[in-house]
């Protein structure tokens, strides 16, 4: 009874909800517009009931000073990738990077490390580029270029995690900015190039040197990488700020349908409603959860085959073999939608880990996600090559890495790649002039 009023109020106060409402108001039919508030409220109410029934809500504890005095001994690694903005000229050099921010607050000597873990500077259309094998793109050029960029960024991020595991880093936590397992469907298009032998061997040494060309395709390489990451000794989480879909709610409903608690008919109709009103996990959980509350993870199948692109394609089976992902949510602040937490294993220390995420997010109150990811995001961001100031900034930044070349901790796979010979792989670029 009061619950309903409560939720309605929350919707009204909730800005992202409101934005969605406006969007709907513009694009949707008058009927949809009228019903939006009612429907969302109703869905949220129902979801909350199920969530309570499944006992998924946990209350997290956070006391600023105390939290940090306990956690100052923890070593955390934050990873993010970056791609320069689509330049107008497709032949302009492209830059893709993944960086790590590794910090141990109470370290005696050096408390923090910034690593340029992977860098690619070059032209993806150049047949001699060292990342992708060359294919004549029949596919619409821009679209393919964007996919190549995305693919490269995703693979770089994975390779960075792999690198840390390979180097046997003693992290207490490792966080990736973005999904830990990306949706691979876009890369199943025909004609998507394979990575070069050179790149794959250096990024993922565990992939057999003698394997086929197909093993170097994004899907296969990424799958191998994820399987490797899954075996990590330290916990690894992907942190996603906002959800554009409703995997958690849908899975929850699905589980209840399987159990028989929800009828097939009800299930189908509510899924249809969610789609129609573009209701996402973020919308619903934002009103259900209060600040400092979390949802226990659910196991979710990320790679959904069956869309037109993939159905019947050679990749359909492959996509099925991708590891399932555990998805949980934490509402880290009053004014932000809950962040999504992805992991490949069920967290061994759920509460403690989530509290750590909450604690690190409190230092970024307006964004509400771990501040370390904000730090590495800035570090990995590739400034617009066109602007002089940012070019200078980027140069400063890369060169600082070069100064630190004696630092063993910055040894990365990319260094190995560089040492082979290369123009476009640059872990230690020298002021934009190659030797």
């Amino acid at each position: 009874m009061t619950l309903k009023v409560d939720i309605k109020d929350k919707i009204k106060q909730n800005s992202s909800m409101f934005v969605n409402f406006i969007k709907n108001a513009i694009t949707a039919s008058p009927k949809v517009q009228n019903n939006f508030l009612e429907v969302t409220t109703k869905v949220a109410e129902t979801a909350l009931k199920i969530i309570k029934d499944a006992d998924l809500i946990v209350d997290l504890n956070y006391k600023g000073k105390e939290f940090w005095s306990i956690n100052r001994c923890k070593t955390s690694c934050f990873i993010d990738g970056g791609v320069d903005r689509t330049s107008i000229i497709s032949s302009a050099p492209l830059s893709i990077r993944a960086g790590s921010y590794i910090v141990k607050p109470d370290a005696t000597s050096k408390r923090e490390f910034f690593e340029e873990s992977m860098v690619f500077l070059g032209d993806l259309y150049d047949p001699k580029n060292e990342l992708y094998d060359f294919v004549d793109d029949d596919f619409e050029e821009d679209q393919m270029l964007n996919k190549k960029k995305d693919g490269a960024r995703i693979i770089f991020e994975a390779a960075t995690i792999v690198k840390h595991i390979l180097l046997n880093k003693k992290f207490d936590y490792c966080f990736l900015h973005g999904p830990l397992e990306a949706t691979v469907m876009p890369f199943t298009v025909a004609g998507f190039p394979t990575f070069t032998k050179f790149a794959v061997e250096n990024m993922f040494p565990f992939i057999s040197k003698n394997s086929s060309v197909e093993a170097r395709h994004f899907i296969n390489a990424y799958l191998e990488a994820l399987n490797y990451i899954k075996k990590s000794k330290f916990p690894i989480y992907g942190i996603v700020e906002t959800s554009n879909s409703a995997p958690y709610i849908k899975n929850l409903l699905f589980n209840y349908k399987i159990k028989g608690t929800i009828s097939d008919k009800d299930y189908n109709s509510v899924i249809k409603t969610i789609k129609k009103y573009k209701i996402t996990d973020s919308h619903i959980l934002e009103i259900i959860l209060s600040s400092g509350q979390a949802l226990k993870p659910l196991e979710v199948k990320k790679q959904l085959a069956g869309f037109t692109v993939t159905s019947g394609s050679a990749w359909e089976e492959k996509m099925d073999s991708f590891p399932k992902v555990f998805i949980g949510y934490i509402k880290t602040s009053d004014n932000q939608a809950p962040v999504r937490i992805e992991s490949l294993n069920y967290p061994k220390h759920l509460i403690k880990d989530y509290e750590y995420i909450l604690g690190t997010s409190r230092l970024l109150p307006n964004y509400g996600f771990p501040v370390g990811l904000n730090v590495v995001d800035k570090f990995a961001k590739i400034p617009n090559w066109m602007s002089k100031t940012s070019r200078k900034y980027y140069a400063t930044h890369l060169l600082r890495q070069a100064i630190k070349n004696k630092d063993q901790n910055t040894v990365s796979l990319a260094v190995k790649i560089l040492s082979k010979k290369s123009r476009s792989w640059k872990n230690r670029p020298i002021g934009g002039i190659s030797k």
């Binding site: 006391k63 600023g64 000073k65 940090w68 005095s69 956690n71 100052r72 955390s76 934050f78 921010y101 910090v103 607050p105 109470d106 050096k110 408390r111 923090e112 910034f114 690190t360 409190r362 230092l363 970024l364 109150p365 307006n366 964004y367 501040v371 370390g372 904000n374 730090v375 800035k378 570090f379 070019r391 200078k392 900034y393 140069a395 400063t396 930044h397 060169l399 600082r400 070069a402 100064i403 020298i430 002021g431 934009g432 002039i433």
Partner: protein, 564 residues
């Protein structure tokens, strides 16, 4: 090259470079603003070969930013009283970006560091920036200064162990301006220079308004036994030719006169011939005569009414009174320092050698004099001394003039103080001085109030702390060598820290001036009013007055008591 290899690497050259400047990314705490840094480079030489060189530069600014610290984190840290070092926030990710002004290059592979040559080919991006040893920086400065009379003035601000010398020959043959707000260290610097000039036996003439240079007189026997330090007080004596000055003094010091009154004054000056000697006596004489003409209703002045004559007479009285007062004030100050020997300023026209002579420093103690008479005095003396240098006979040796409170002697036109007699004299001395060996140093707290053309003829400059924006602008306006980056530093300088630039050093350098404490005159010392009050004892007259005051108060009280 060997030298370069021994120096410590402190950063890497960034992005675009040219032959005038470059930027580099600096390792934390490895250098400061004003530091001298080097980078190895290669240049095309005249014979077509490529030669290895060391490029020398000066850090002219440093920017520091932590782009990785999100501002909003500060809220939580404050609210929860969290120590940032306990958190995962980055604390070490400061980027330090330095701008370097290139001074020039030296060729590698030479035994000694040679003179700096102008760079004609940009430095290499990504080259390593190194921090040269103090010994090598000093060696560079010395060889670059290439001076037969180097004068030590202090050390490089950024590095204690790098001594800075200036070129003595350039100093005394050209002109130098010294700017800085009160207490910033100007006088300390001037004393440093004067000490060196005494050692070189080079004559100097110092206009001392506040008695800042009396220490030289006091300590002469002890520290400058082979020199003479003379202390003069002004005597307002004019030669007949200086009628112009007399007129100006009367006109400006006295009442404002109308045109007919001015005519009368002029005619009076024509009629009553001035034979030289004390100006005061002459003005008194003029007063008497004016009064006579007025009361006798003299008709020898066309169109001048007796009333006007009276006005002029009154004005002359005021002038003589003022001059008398100034003389007395000056004398009173002198009396306080009874153990210092003050002499009346010799006649600069006829006995210039008493003022300027080898190994002698002459101090003209101007305390108590208002601007205008002081200016008149200075104008007359400098005019005469300059003339004696100018004439073929060269009756006196070359000498160096120090003008404290220069804004009083050479005020900017915008001050509307035209007819200040010293302006023309000093302008002449400065613009022609090079030929005759009459170098001038002008010192002021308010460079914006100093005559621009004169200031811009000073080809060397020392600037101490300046906060006032107008004065900051004036320093860069008057200088060809002082950059805007230098100007930005001015408000942050501490006592005795100055930026020295111009021909005496070749390029602008921030310097900590050496403080010769021994040259402070112990007698006046710092104005320590608290101690004065602590040791205060009322004078007899005051004691008596107080006693009587009590008696009078008693009377008063009794008087006002009502009988009841």
């Amino acid at each position: 090259m060997s030298k370069f290899n021994n120096w410590k690497a402190i950063g890497t050259v960034l992005g675009e470079t040219d032959i005038n400047e470059y930027h580099f990314s600096l390792k934390n705490y490895k250098a400061k603003k004003g530091d001298i840094v080097t980078t190895a480079s290669r240049l095309p030489s005249t014979d077509g070969t490529v030669i290895p060189v060391t490029v020398w530069g000066k850090i002219s600014s440093i920017e520091r930013f932590n782009a990785f610290f999100p501002a909003e984190a500060a809220q939580e840290l404050t609210n929860e009283d969290i120590d940032i070092r306990d958190t995962i926030l980055p604390t070490t990710k400061d980027e330090l970006r330095c701008k370097v002004i290139i001074l020039g290059y030296t060729e590698d592979g030479k035994e000694k560091i040679s003179k700096l040559l102008p760079l004609n080919y940009p430095v290499m991006p990504a080259a390593i920036v190194k921090y040269p040893s103090s010994k090598d920086v000093e060696e560079l400065f010395i060889s670059d200064l290439d001076s037969s009379h180097p004068i030590s003035i202090g050390n490089l601000l950024a590095r204690k162990d790098v001594e800075i010398k200036i070129d003595g020959d350039n100093l005394i043959s050209r002109h130098i301006s010294v700017w800085g707000m009160s207490g910033s260290g100007k006088t300390v610097f001037v004393r440093r220079i004067l000490t060196e000039l005494l050692n070189l036996k080079y004559p100097s003439f110092v206009l001392d308004i506040h008695g800042d240079y009396l220490g030289f007189v006091q300590k002469q026997k002890k520290y400058f036994p082979d020199n003479k330090v003379k202390l003069f007080y002004p005597n307002l004596s004019v030669r007949a030719e200086d009628k112009e000055i007399v007129y100006t003094l009367i006109d400006k010091l006295g009442n404002t006169l109308t045109d007919p009154q001015r005519d009368f004054l002029n005619s009076l000056l024509e009629k009553i011939k001035y034979e030289g000697g004390s100006l005061l006596q002459y003005i008194k004489l003029l007063n008497v005569k004016a009064r006579e003409f007025a009361s006798s209703g003299s008709t020898s002045f066309k169109n001048v009414k007796p009333a006007s004559m009276f006005v002029v007479a009154r004005s002359l009285r005021i002038v003589s009174k003022k001059l008398e007062n100034m003389e007395q004030t000056n004398a009173r100050h002198r009396r306080k320092m009874s153990h210092l020997k003050f002499e009346e300023l010799p006649d600069s026209a006829t006995e210039p050698e008493k003022i300027i002579s080898k190994g002698q420093m002459s101090i003209l103690y101007l305390r108590g004099y208002e601007n205008l008479p002081a200016s008149a005095i200075v104008s007359i003396v400098l005019e005469n001394l300059f003339r004696h240098r100018q004439e073929a006979s060269e009756e006196i040796a070359p000498f160096f003039t120090v003008i404290e409170e220069a804004h009083n002697f050479i005020p900017s036109r915008s001050e509307n103080k035209d007819d200040i007699p010293s302006v023309d004299t000093i302008r002449k001395v400065i613009s022609e001085g090079r030929k005759f060996g009459t170098g001038v140093m002008i010192i002021s707290q308010r460079p914006s109030r100093v005559d621009e053309t004169i200031a811009s003829q000073c080809n060397s400059q020392v600037v101490f702390r300046i906060v006032n924006q107008r004065d900051q602008r004036a320093t860069t306006r008057d200088s060809e060598t002082l950059s805007n980056d230098d100007a930005k530093q001015l408000p942050n300088l501490a006592n005795g820290q100055g930026i020295i630039s111009g021909q005496i050093v070749n390029y602008s350098l921030p310097v900590q001036i050496k403080f010769d404490e021994k040259l402070i005159n112990d007698d006046i010392g710092n104005e320590n009013f608290i101690d004065t009050v602590e040791n205060w004892d009322d004078k007899e007259s005051v004691k008596l007055r107080k006693k009587f005051a009590k008696d009078f108060a008693d009377i008063n009280e009794i008087d006002s008591r009502r009988a009841n």
